[in-house]
């Protein structure tokens, strides 16, 4: 097994920070978040599941798609995408799984989303296995595991004094060329117990979900919803967005516009508002139903994977205790 000391790992990360956009878990005023870092000193190595997923670094919360300039009658359009390579270090396996879920729509459908594809291409995912399941976590029920290498380029597992290093993909192998590792027969300090859930969360077939469209489950869980966007914004697989043009500068004969896309959320009241003002999904239970149907019925039917990786972020961050595990349990029990 390839092994790296924490000291060597930090040296490598410091060199990497010079060459690429390095993203890693950081303490931001008491919140653990994936953030750009300039040196390994800023990185948390002993950390829980970051409060927000790593989604924003491949699918930015706000992204400029086009810069448009109009001079007189002449219009120019320019795409500006970052060219530098990006490494997300310390990404949790569930977040990598989340990218695989989004890939099914943004990469594998025709035409692919070129902006998402660009960020995906320039990014290498270096994961660190979770030493345990955290509050709300249920990745093991969603086909993942706290140490699942499947969707990562590199997986690190903590051992005494350092990490066991596993290059999962070719991209990972290339990235690791600059990292000095030793061969050492050391098993990761990881027990089978960390993979187990005390109570597995049941997943119900899409066809069965369809039968429950009019069920009272949706009123029961939706009535207390605040119609905020927390669950969708912390989610590693929610990928709805809206597009708009913003005027940056305007004077006689000259206009500069940015076409942006920004995250949107099906839980918000005006998500379904159409031209003329009609809202075809005007109630909280209807919107909550859509969120769960999207994850467990529409998305798997249309694109393949389930729209949930069991990261548990929505579970812990919902201010009114709308718990996806409970909803899945209720659906299974019907």
């Amino acid at each position: 097994m390839k092994y790296v000391t924490l000291k060597e790992l930090k040296n490598w990360l410091n060199r990497l920070a010079q060459e690429v956009d390095l993203i890693a878990p950081r303490d931001v005023d008491g919140h653990v978040l994936y953030r750009p870092v300039a040196s390994s000193d800023e990185i948390l190595f002993d950390y829980e599941r970051p409060e927000l997923s790593a989604k924003e670094f491949i699918f930015p919360a706000t992204e400029v798609l086009l810069r448009i300039e109009k001079r007189g009658t002449e219009v120019t359009q320019e795409e500006v995408l970052p060219e530098r390579k990006q490494v997300i270090f310390g990404v949790r396996p569930c977040d990598a799984h989340g990218f695989a879920v989004i890939d099914a729509l943004f990469l594998e459908q025709d035409p692919p989303d070129r902006y998402y594809a660009h960020h995906r291409e320039r990014t290498t995912l270096v994961g660190i296995a979770c030493p345990q399941m955290w509050e709300g976590c249920f990745c093991a029920s969603m086909g993942g595991a706290p140490d699942d290498p499947t969707h990562l380029d590199v997986l690190l597992r903590a051992v005494e004094g350092g990490y066991v290093v596993e290059a999962v993909t070719e991209k990972g192998k290339v990235l690791l060329k600059g990292l000095e590792t030793k061969n050492r027969d050391q098993k990761p300090g990881f027990s089978e117990k960390t993979r187990l859930l005390e109570q597995p969360v049941p997943v119900t077939e899409p066809a069965r979900w369809r039968e429950l469209f009019e069920d009272r489950i949706w009123m029961r869980h939706g009535e207390r919803c605040l119609s905020c966007r927390i669950c969708t914004y912390v989610c590693p697989t929610c990928r709805c967005f809206d597009v708009a043009d913003r005027v940056i500068e305007e004077r006689a004969g000259f206009t500069r516009i940015e076409r942006i896309r920004a995250w949107d959320a099906c839980t918000s009241t005006n998500y379904r508002r159409a031209a003329g003002g009609h809202n075809s999904r005007p109630t909280k239970p209807g919107r909550i139903r859509n969120r769960f149907f999207c994850k467990f019925c529409y998305y798997p039917e249309d694109f393949g994977p389930l729209g949930c990786v069991g990261c548990g972020r929505c579970v812990v961050s919902c201010p009114v205790d709308i718990d996806i595990r409970e909803v899945m349990g209720d659906v299974a029990a019907r």
């Binding site: 966007r229 913003r246 920004a262 949107d264 918000s268």
Partner: protein, 289 residues
């Protein structure tokens, strides 16, 4: 969360009676979810009142949900009559909504609770409870529990002074650093009983000042704008700060305006029943009438 058995029983009895006698169509109270977390509960059937609980984990301001029940679900049917469990801070926001003619008083049955303060997540006393001196709701149709005798603690505004004393540039950088964490999820607005515009001005498609970008300038304008829209209306229930997933100290913004309005007009929103909105009370020269 420790459940107060005696008060819980009284709430259940009251709820059962109101529903059985058909004086209300539903009760909005609190229940414990399967993981033990406390959450809002909507009870329509007298047989389900056993779900209701009371304890110091009952943090949510349920007045917010009255907006959802203002309108009839079907044409030709009256809007529902609602029994609602109300803490002193929640009652102040109810007063604000009554004064703004958002709620019909006769459609509401207020189950008032004597309150010693709440604890989010079973931890320490919530910050707004530490400075709260109200032990009984400002209005109720029935009071449950004995308001504990407490000697009023003067609010020393220390949290606010700490920020106000900073030089302007430092104060700005403090706030920009806080707003930077905001994810524009609008949980603060959605949890606020005072934020009930059908379309928020910060979410208009034709908004001139704020577009849908989730960037620092939008977050900055949104939070300052929201605070200003609540000037003289914020009942200090602190739901905005509680629900914020990124821990923004939003009470500092609201309290800045609460202090200003109180100093200028001796007006604390919701403290008295049906106190008119502040702006209706001002004379033409801006002084209180």
């Amino acid at each position: 969360m420790p459940i107060n058995e005696s008060l819980t029983q009284q709430i259940r009895d009251q709820a059962r009676q109101l529903l059985t006698e058909e004086r209300v169509d539903l009760i909005i109270g609190y229940e414990a979810g399967p993981t033990g977390r406390v959450r809002p509960a909507f009870i329509y059937d007298p047989a389900e009142v056993e779900r209701l609980i009371w304890g110091d984990g009952c943090v949510h301001n349920l007045i917010n949900y009255l907006h959802d029940k203002k309108h009839s679900p079907k044409r030709g049917v009256e809007p529902p009559r609602v029994g609602v469990v109300v803490k002193p801070c929640d009652s102040r926001s109810l007063n604000v909504l009554l004064a703004e003619q958002q709620i019909e008083r006769e459609r509401i049955f207020v189950i008032g609770l004597a309150c010693e303060g709440v604890r989010d997540g079973g931890g320490e006393l919530a910050a707004h409870c530490e400075r709260c001196t109200d032990r009984a709701p400002a209005l109720y149709d029935m009071l449950i529990g004995e308001p504990p005798q407490v000697s009023p603690v003067e609010d020393d505004w220390a949290d606010l002074d700490h920020i106000e004393e900073l030089p302007p540039a430092e104060r700005l950088s403090f706030w920009l650093r806080e707003f930077d964490r905001c994810i524009r999820c609008y949980a603060c607005r959605q949890a606020c009983p005072g934020c009930y515009c059908t379309t928020c001005m910060f979410e208009r498609d034709d908004g001139l000042w704020v577009d849908m970008g989730i960037e620092l300038s939008e977050k900055y304008v949104f939070h300052l704008g929201r605070a200003l829209h609540l000037a003289g209306r914020c009942a200090e229930c602190n739901e905005c700060e509680r629900v914020c997933p990124m821990g923004l100290p939003l009470s500092l913004l609201n309290r800045r305006l609460v202090r200003e309005v109180d100093a200028l007009y001796h007006h604390r929103a919701g403290r008295e029943e049906a106190l008119s909105p502040l702006l209706f009370e001002l004379g033409e020269d801006g002084s209180p009438m």
